[in-house]
Symmetry: C2
Subunit: 199 residues, 2 copies
DNA sequence: CGACTATTTGACCCTTCTCAAATCGGGTGG
DNA sequence: CCACCCGATTTGAGAAGGGTCAAATAGTCG
């Protein structure tokens, strides 16, 4: 519906020079109902949404290493809609007749269980805690290096959907954290984190 | 730690006369860290917990048809602790050298993605909505028949953990629903639901 | 530049959390 | 069979944290 979706269809589907598919923050990677292949996330963060009566509601996150769109192998169509929350790099997963298929499926299954718990934890506790946990998660997966406490901030709207808070609350909370020195916003879309992952 | 765990070790490990393993409400099915096999839930509801520094926190639900403990195939040990929230019936899953392994793995993967979204929805919105959604989910999976709006109520503590509410709030909310005629509690542990699944 | 969308901020209300205590239920040891 | 213990459930009163509604600002894309 937004212009982002159209850009996405172009950007997300076109393999880059390196052979991987790239998607920018906000791009739609694939839409529920359409056919396509499964991907493995090499970098970035992807938001998965389940289409429901009243629009789409948040149904999970995929970080580096996770597999998305595996349902198409079963149903021939995506069950979820995937949107990039930060610059994303994707590679094909399980192209037909691949080696080690069973092992890959098991790895994907185990990863998804872990991720479920991660995402559930993002809806636990008070606003500050939820947002801290989310940013830590994003930093751990989306950062340039594992020790770099920097995050590409998703839109407040996305943060709100993921944590089940309201946009206004997210805005206020992040401002508070910024004032309190727990985090520093740079260039309006990047944040440097100054707290420990589990605090 | 409670007596339930010991009973569980006995009850959950011992295949019944029908060849399936049974676990009663409250029984621990398996514990994180120990070795064992994977199961498919035939009936009932299982709570999965991830062990963390401060005890265990809720990490997912498994309903009829779902697979639990698939991690042992990868890591040789359970990553989660599984507890029965209602009477549960389990069957072995993927015993070595089984047919159709790939397909089963795919089915399990797809099921888990769906379940992730289900569980996330249980932490959305106000107390009444969360509890309604949870009971509907349990009724759909744990009921004797799909049209039977009856649920075995988990302990308030479990409901609270799953929905991220406090026990007191759960107690008050259920009482309210009972008074309001949205639900009728029978025999202290069963509830008959009078609302539509998505309301 | 102009239309739109995203982000901030303020004021005020409502829901849920907290703390405290009383009850209820189940199971146990006499 | 009964008194007692301990965890589970209820209830109350008051405080906090978020949600709401309204509006002003700041970005973005044509």
């Amino acid at each position: 519906m937004s212009s982002g979706q159209l850009d996405a269809s172009a950007a997300a589907r076109m393999p880059g020079d390196d052979g991987y598919r790239h998607a920018a923050r906000g791009d739609t990677i694939f839409v529920a109902g359409e056919a396509g292949e499964a991907f493995r996330v090499r970098a970035g963060v992807v938001r998965l949404d389940r289409e429901s009566l009243s629009g789409a509601d948040f149904g999970g996150l995929a970080l580096a290493g996770d597999v998305i769109g595996a349902e198409t192998l079963m149903f021939g169509a995506y069950t979820y809609t995937a949107v990039a929350l930060s610059p994303v790099v994707l590679e094909s997963w399980l192209a037909l007749a691949e080696q080690d298929k069973e092992r890959k499926l098991m790895v994907a299954l185990a990863a998804r269980e872990r991720r479920t718990a991660d995402v559930l934890a993002l809806r636990c506790g008070k606003a500050v805690e939820r947002i801290k946990r989310l940013l830590s998660l994003l930093a751990g997966a989306g950062g340039t290096s594992r020790s770099e406490p920097t995050v590409t901030l998703p839109r407040l709207r996305d943060i709100a959907d993921i944590t089940d808070l309201k946009v206004e609350t997210v805005s206020r909370t992040i401002a508070q954290m910024n004032d309190g020195g727990e985090l520093a916003i740079e260039a309006r879309r990047f944040a440097r984190l100054f707290y420990t992952p589990d605090a």
